[in-house]
């Protein structure tokens, strides 16, 4: 009797939370194992020491820990901002541009109003103005989506490039020193408009802003009438119309909120951390945050875990690149492997493979 094995996939229904998470944990472990092989392959170093290096790089000293927190907070606030839009199935790929515009507004306030106003007043103006200019960047595609049903993914994506060009123009005006093609650190001496250090920690202010924003966003999503409306719109325009929801209004309102938060993230980056503006101020966070939001399924707690993990690996990888004289790209390979396993494991959360044995002899008889 000849037996033939056939593998086919079967969709799971109602997988238990414990099982789903154990699959994910196995994926992380497998990813770390594969990374270990890659590391040994490249460096010949002891992989455990390398992982030690990653931990050291991410949280080895208090300043490294704060950098990890700072980067994590940036991802979190952008992800929180994307959540309402994505829940509405409005594919806002323009967070990067919205961050840039928020940052641009912040830089403008610091440069033009910095010497004139009190710090606390500057902070308020920065927060308001950055949110407004982020909002404008999201409002445009939202209006076109609502009234002409244009494709919002392309529109928001293109707006990123427009934002970059505007930043380029602004740099021409604000160039410091002349000829450097960069703005340099704004108000380096007087620190006008810089977000304040709290308890000796210069990034704590950002952490608090992000925490407040996240609490507000997720309460809005879960408990407010607006939040309900946008979730219905995300599910189906027809249902929304059926429920008497003004779909156009909800699209525009939600996108304003989403992009205003991305604008605020721009303010946090410029006034709270880099104190300069350039086309790379966004640093790709507008896109990385999409991954954070999706992988965490819009759950705020999962968002914290996912963004911490991503930043942790990123910072850690930079450290091992220095330790072992590797190119930074080597650390990207490690992050890439981990993401591959993490995203790939979702397949096994949704499907399982089954092996069926088929009797070939009988089949031919």
């Amino acid at each position: 009797m000849k037996k033939k094995k056939v593998i086919h996939m079967v969709r799971r229904t109602g997988i238990s939370t414990a099982k789903a998470w154990s699959i994910r944990i196995i994926a992380v472990l497998l990813a770390l194992l594969v990374c270990a092989f890659v590391i040994v392959g490249i460096t010949g170093a002891n992989p455990i020491a390398v992982y030690g290096g990653i931990i050291d790089g991410a949280v080895g000293t208090s300043s490294r820990t704060w950098i990890t927190i700072r980067e994590c907070v940036f991802l979190l606030i952008v992800a929180a901002g994307l959540t309402p839009a994505f829940k509405m199935r409005f594919w806002n790929l323009g967070a990067e541009g919205q961050i840039l515009m928020g940052g641009l507004a912040t830089a403008a306030v610091m440069i033009y109003l910095g010497p004139m106003l009190q710090d606390w007043l500057l902070w308020i103006i920065i927060i308001v103005v950055s949110m407004l200019s982020g909002l404008v960047w999201g409002l445009l595609p939202a209006i076109f989506k609502a009234y002409f049903n244009t494709n919002e993914s392309l529109f928001t994506l293109m707006m990123n490039y427009v934002a970059m060009q505007i930043i380029d123009v602004a740099i021409v005006f604000w160039e410091n020193p002349k000829g450097s093609n960069s703005v340099g650190v704004i108000n380096q001496v007087g620190k006008e408009g810089w977000f304040p250090s709290m308890f000796g920690q210069q990034y704590l202010f950002n952490v608090i802003l992000t925490a407040i924003t996240m609490i507000l966003v997720f309460s809005y999503m879960r408990y407010s009438k607006h939040g309900y409306e946008l979730r219905v719109v995300g599910e189906s325009y027809n249902t929304a119309r059926y429920a008497g929801i003004n779909v156009k209004k909800v699209i525009i309102r939600t996108m304003c909120l989403s992009s205003a938060i991305a604008g605020l993230a721009g303010a946090m980056i410029v006034a709270g951390s880099s104190h300069t503006i350039s086309v790379s101020t966004g640093g790709g966070r507008g896109f990385t945050a999409i991954i954070v939001a999706w992988m965490s399924q819009f759950n705020p707690y999962a968002m914290i875990i996912v963004s911490l993990f991503l930043v942790f690996m990123q910072r850690g990888s930079i450290q091992i690149a220095t330790d072992y004289g590797l190119n930074n790209n080597a650390s990207d390979i490690i992050t890439g492997i981990i993401l591959f396993f993490l995203i790939g494991c979702e397949f096994f959360v949704n499907y399982r493979l089954e092996v069926t044995t088929i009797d070939e002899e009988e089949a031919k008889a």
């Binding site: 790929l93 002349k178 000829g179 790379s280 896109f287 999706w294 190119n327």
Partner: protein, 449 residues
């Protein structure tokens, strides 16, 4: 640089959309983007700094040794931190990495005494990196990109016991910090020498009858119309003019420090405009590639171009950062104060030209080159000798006297004027970064945008 960011964004977007993306690589994009701004140096601040740092780099060094402060550092305890804007795949940083390796060998440091961080963008990440290196016990932290300066300065304020050295910057003298320093090479000397090589080639072509004296026109592919570039092409032109008096030069800009396509196009355009020899201040092999295709001789920058232009490349002007690094690190070991501005040229082996391509260079070039280098070393030849060129038809001294340069130079006029004495322009002496920012007669500079 924008292309890379754009493509990164697209890739990210696609990745994010199908949920299969990987971590954004924009760090690298930012790094590469900022590389390009690295060499940018200006003359603007010179005015403010003239009084504060009126000493020349050389004298500052000797003075400094007398006011040696600290106790120094045992060589075994020494740790050197380096922040690179790029990595070994990028010519500018590669040259610095080689310099660090030379320094390490020269001083006999072990591998774990030098911590190198690559791909650090010109943002708060530079500050993070500098602080991190200081925290790791480095007594000296070196950064190589122009945009790193303000972050280095910030770190220097917070870590007064650590020496922060920054290439291409200009703020050290005016910062009032004793632990923050700028350094640069006197690359204009090497450009002058490469200009001599070019001039001899032109003479050969005139003798052959390929061109006439009147058509001896060179082309120059510049990155930006900044002082560093202007100083560079002026010295190159003066070098050529010293042997071929009738030469003229046309400059066009790419508005990027490294853009292969743009450099190629600009070079092609210059050749169409009648230029018979091309040189460049931009970081890729775009121009030599175009020259090789058109059969036009060329002079490169940073690296030997014979690999892409075996039949046309004459030589390249190069920086040699090793001696600078060695000097700075040695100062830390000795406990000697590092000068605020540090600049070295031929005399200290800080610059060079790559070996001549015998196949293309005119006969007798090597002898002439050796002669010129010797003259630069012993101080008998000054590159910006005011008797060798005119500005707007008059000598530089006259032009300064009648104030006709005020409009061109703006704020940096006073500092510029102060550099003119003893019959020559004192380039890179008060301040390590180049500052000669006027267009002299014989050169036409065209803004391409």
């Amino acid at each position: 640089m924008k292309k890379k960011i754009v493509s990164t964004m697209l890739i990210c977007a696609m990745g994010a959309m199908c949920l299969a993306g990987c971590r954004s690589t924009s760090d690298d994009a930012a790094a590469t983007a900022s590389t390009t701004a690295a060499d940018a140096a200006t003359t603007t601040a010179a005015a403010e700094t003239t009084d504060a740092a009126a000493t020349t780099a050389d004298t500052a060094a000797s003075e400094a040794s007398t006011e040696a402060t600290g106790t120094g550092v045992a060589k075994d305890d020494l740790k050197v931190g380096v922040i690179y804007v790029g990595d070994e795949n990028e010519g500018y940083t590669e040259a610095h990495m080689k310099g660090i390796a030379d320094m390490k060998q020269e001083l006999g440091l072990s591998d774990d005494q030098v911590i190198e961080k690559t791909n650090i963008p010109e943002s708060e990440e530079c500050y993070d990196a500098a602080v991190d290196l200081a925290n790791q016990g480095c007594q000296i932290v070196i950064a190589n990109s122009f945009g790193h300066e303000s972050y280095m300065l910030q770190a220097a304020t917070e870590y007064p016991d650590v020496q922060f050295c920054h290439a291409t910057g200009y703020q050290a003298a005016s910062s009032g910090l004793s632990n923050f320093h700028n350094f640069f090479t006197k690359i204009y000397e090497a450009r002058y020498v490469s200009g001599v090589v070019a001039g001899l080639k032109l003479n050969e072509m005139i003798d052959d009858g390929t061109i006439t004296e009147d058509t001896a026109k060179m082309g120059y592919v510049g990155a930006y119309p900044y002082a560093e570039v202007i100083s560079g092409f002026t010295s190159f032109y003066l070098g050529a003019k010293s042997v071929c008096p009738s030469v003229t030069m046309e400059v066009q800009y790419t508005n990027s420090w490294a853009d292969l396509d743009a450099e190629n196009q600009v070079a092609t355009k210059l050749i169409q405009d009648g230029c018979v020899l091309i040189s460049q201040h931009a970081d890729t092999t775009g121009a030599p590639t175009a020259c090789e295709a058109a059969g036009v001789p060329c002079v490169g920058y940073n690296v030997d171009m014979t690999s892409v232009a075996p039949n046309t490349a004459l030589t390249s002007a190069t920086n040699n950062w090793g001696p600078l690094f060695t000097e700075m690190v040695q100062d830390v070991i000795d406990g000697t104060q590092i000068p605020a501005d540090l600049s070295i040229g031929y005399a200290e082996d800080g610059v060079a030209i790559t070996p001549l391509n015998e196949k293309v260079c005119a006969e007798g070039t090597q002898d002439k080159v050796d002669e010129v280098i010797a003259a630069i070393k012993d101080g008998s030849l000054h590159v910006f000798d005011t008797s060798t060129f005119t500005v707007g038809g008059e000598s530089l001294e006259d032009a300064i006297a009648d104030g006709s340069l005020k409009d061109t130079l703006g704020d940096s006029y006073d500092a510029f004027a102060a550099n003119v004495s003893d019959g020559y322009y004192h380039e890179s002496e008060t301040q390590s970064a180049p500052s000669f920012a006027i267009i002299i007669d014989g050169i036409t500079s065209v803004q391409s945008n």
